[in-house]
Symmetry: C2
Subunit: 161 residues, 2 copies
DNA sequence: AAGCTTAGTTGCATTTTGCCACTCGACTCG
DNA sequence: CGAGTCGAGTGGCAAAATGCAACTAAGCTT
């Protein structure tokens, strides 16, 4: 991991990036959440080098995003299963996928999301918890929240776009 | 950028990561979408080194995520404004922010999202475009889509969790 | 017994960072 | 007029991360 310059920003985005924001880590999470949970399987599907994969899995386990579980003795095999923290990475991957689908996929999306509750294809959409309307990317701003520090409180700047 | 091993995966997530998935790049996008759009401003708020920032801004411009615009002559000043591609990064940042808020923020979220259309605080939520119900992270699976390749079509694997 | 599979580790060369000093043009203060 | 400053970077160099390939080690399989 590139040094550790993300501390002390009091920012949930920076915090999240410090744990799951590394490129390979997110690809590993894609694999795990797709159901590919064994070392060699992840290695094959991502093209990641063994040592890097070992390192990333270890730090994801250290941060409680994955759990290393013995899958079978004889032959000794392990699987990496997502914890709650790990499952909650799904929306991040979905957001990345939708960005990629929209701006890169020439021949249609390689994968489409399915909502297991209703069983149908489901373009997940962001809606406002207050007015229930769909939210467009440019209709979002932020304001300082309860956890804001001095500096952040002083900058209620919403971009003008 | 670490070599470029993300090609040839036919995956929108990998594609998106290749362009915007670098840690600093996402932090830069946070700044830009927060309204901080000038070189020094971004540098100050992220703690990124000048040469890295210059590099990241350049590649974001190269990929059409940002546009470099002269902000004023005398003194010569530039700003980096988000294009459509850039604006569409917002949901990714929101997803990261929500993950961080949920799993890391001890004293409440530093920032809260505001929906500019209705003007209220808005926890953006994912809903299913088919049944309109809110979607929990673990209720999402994927299936091969129209852009899937041979291998991907052969693996309609939905994880068991 | 030879070979394969799973899950890594180790060594080494290459690439990317981070840090800091420096440039270059245009103000701005005294 | 000269000194200092600000904005936007560039350049050099050491330290860290990455990629690659070979190797270990236990337990099958043929």
């Amino acid at each position: 991991m590139p040094y550790r310059p993300f501390d002390g920003q009091n920012c949930s985005i920076a915090g999240a990036l410090a744990i799951i924001g590394e490129r390979w880590s997110l690809l590993v999470m894609r694999e795990v959440l797709l159901g590919r949970r064994r070392f060699q399987e992840i290695k094959r599907n991502t093209g990641i080098a063994s040592n890097i994969l070992a390192d990333r899995l270890q730090t994801l386990v250290d941060h409680g995003v994955l759990e290393r579980r013995r899958y079978s003795d004889q032959p000794e095999a392990y699987e990496y299963v997502p914890t709650r923290r790990g499952l909650d990475v799904n929306p991040v991957l979905i957001a990345l996928m939708q960005w990629g689908d929209r701006h890169l996929a020439a021949n249609g999306p390689p994968r489409v999301p399915v909502h297991t509750v209703c069983g149908h294809d489901a373009e997940p959409r962001l809606v406002c918890s207050h007015c229930s309307q769909p939210i467009k990317a440019e209709e979002l701003r932020v304001r300082p929240g309860p956890g804001a520090n001095e500096a952040q409180r002083a900058e209620p700047l919403l971009p003008a776009d």
